[in-house]
């Protein structure tokens, strides 16, 4: 499974990590829905750390779409909301 952290690059993550990633992602989703910025930041960091810990960076010259894409570490909740609301944040 390939996971991209925006602004950072892609990681190849083993399928065994999926359950844990989904759990952390659910936390993140909960934080977004409840509008809790602090919880959002914590959940995002936990999720990204997990990807980095479990995954191996994909070589730059590999051209593969990601199965999952994660916001970059500096994103605010607002950034993520905007990204999800429409495609306005992604140029081209």
């Amino acid at each position: 499974m390939i996971v991209r952290i925006l602004g950072e690059g892609q990681y190849s993550v083993g399928d065994t990590a999926t359950a844990e990633l989904n759990r952390l992602d659910a936390d993140l989703e909960k934080a977004v829905n409840s509008g809790d910025e602090a919880a959002f930041a914590t959940a995002l960091r936990a999720l990204l750390d997990q990807v980095r810990a479990q995954g191996a960076p994909l070589p730059s010259d590999r051209l593969e779409p990601s199965d999952l894409i994660l916001p970059d570490p500096d994103s605010s909740m607002d950034d993520v909301r905007k990204m999800l609301a429409d495609d306005g944040l992604i140029p081209g």
Binding site: V3, R4, L6, G7, G9, L21, N22, D25, A26, L28, E29, V32, L47, P59, S60, D61, R62, L63, E64, P65, S66, D67, L68, I69, L70, P71, V80, M83, L84, D87, L89, I90, P91, G92
Partner: protein, 306 residues
């Protein structure tokens, strides 16, 4: 088909990771759907990739320019802070605690601007590094895409090529979306910084920053200068006084001994013997006795002619 299936699954679960990736996929699909011949997509996309690459490099340069400008301003503010501390020290040395306090207050506000700029400097530096890495990664992907593009065009018919193209295209378009967002963010940050830096430059040029940092235009320095000037006068005065009081007792002493007259006359006597007549300028009139003339027969002829 795979995308549709994924879409259904995520719509039900609504995880952030999947929703973000769906946004990217939707974008790629939209662009793909526009193309008549899928192979055209490859060339078109490649052009866009090259454009984006140029844009990223320009972005890196812009951030670097902005960073250097902040660096320059930080140096100026640092100099200002140093100058104010120096003034405070001088003021204290002159016993003017009020002036020293004023200078230190201004130093504090220069320092706080400096700290603010330092934080922004760090964030620009981080942005620059990120973009540099992004630019290298994009370059590698674009190279990979070009290779794959040529293979696809050479090997597959339009119909066969479709799947391969979709793979290559969604891989690169995701990267382009990612990098595009990074550039957007860097541009925003750079624009903010430049507006700010421009404002600070203007303030510095107008001397108004001295107001912000240092109240009225260097009144502390003026006062220190005045004090220094008046203390110079005092010092001169006391030096002169010292000279006078040092020479006065000598004369009294000399007068008491009675030797002073003799001493005073001696230079006068020397002066008298001084202006004696200078020695007669014998050597200057080259005497004809020099026999060298015999070596030059033409000269005596000239002299003897008349």
């Amino acid at each position: 088909m795979a995308t549709k299936k994924l879409m259904k699954g995520t719509a039900a679960r609504m995880g952030v990771m999947k929703r973000v990736s769906l946004v990217f996929k939707a974008k790629a699909n939209k662009a793909l759907d526009k193309m008549e011949d899928p192979r055209e997509t490859l060339d078109y996309s490649y052009q866009r990739q090259l454009e984006l690459l140029t844009k990223v490099r320009r972005g890196v340069a812009d951030v670097a320019t902005s960073r250097k400008r902040v660096e320059l301003q930080m140096n100026q503010l640092q100099q200002q802070a140093n100058k104010l501390e120096d003034q405070a020290r001088k003021a204290l040395g002159m016993g003017r605690e009020d002036l020293a306090r004023a200078a230190l207050e201004r130093k504090a506000s220069a320092q706080s601007q400096l700290n603010d700029l330092q934080a922004q400097y760090a964030s620009l530096q981080a942005e620059e590094e990120k973009l540099t890495v992004a630019s290298q990664r994009l370059q590698a992907k674009v190279d990979a895409f070009r290779t794959r593009k040529e293979t696809i065009k050479a090997t597959y018919t339009a119909a066969e090529a479709q799947t391969r193209i979709n793979e290559a295209f969604s891989g690169i378009s995701e990267e382009m979306g990612d990098v595009g967002m990074a550039i957007q963010r860097a541009e925003d940050k750079t624009a903010q910084m430049q507006a700010r830096a421009g404002a600070i430059d203007e303030l510095m040029a107008s001397g108004a920053l001295d107001d912000a940092v240092g109240g009225q235009r260097d009144d502390i320095q003026n006062e220190l200068d005045m004090m220094a000037a008046s203390s110079d006068v005092e010092r001169e005065l006391s030096r002169l006084k010292g000279e006078i009081s040092a020479s006065a007792p000598k004369q009294l002493e000399g007068g008491a001994n009675g030797n002073s007259q003799e001493q005073a006359q001696r230079p006068a006597g020397q002066q008298q013997s001084g202006p004696y007549a200078p020695p007669p300028p014998q050597a200057q009139t080259q005497p004809a006795s020099i026999p060298a003339t015999s070596d030059l027969p033409a000269e005596p002829q000239d002299g003897e002619g008349p």
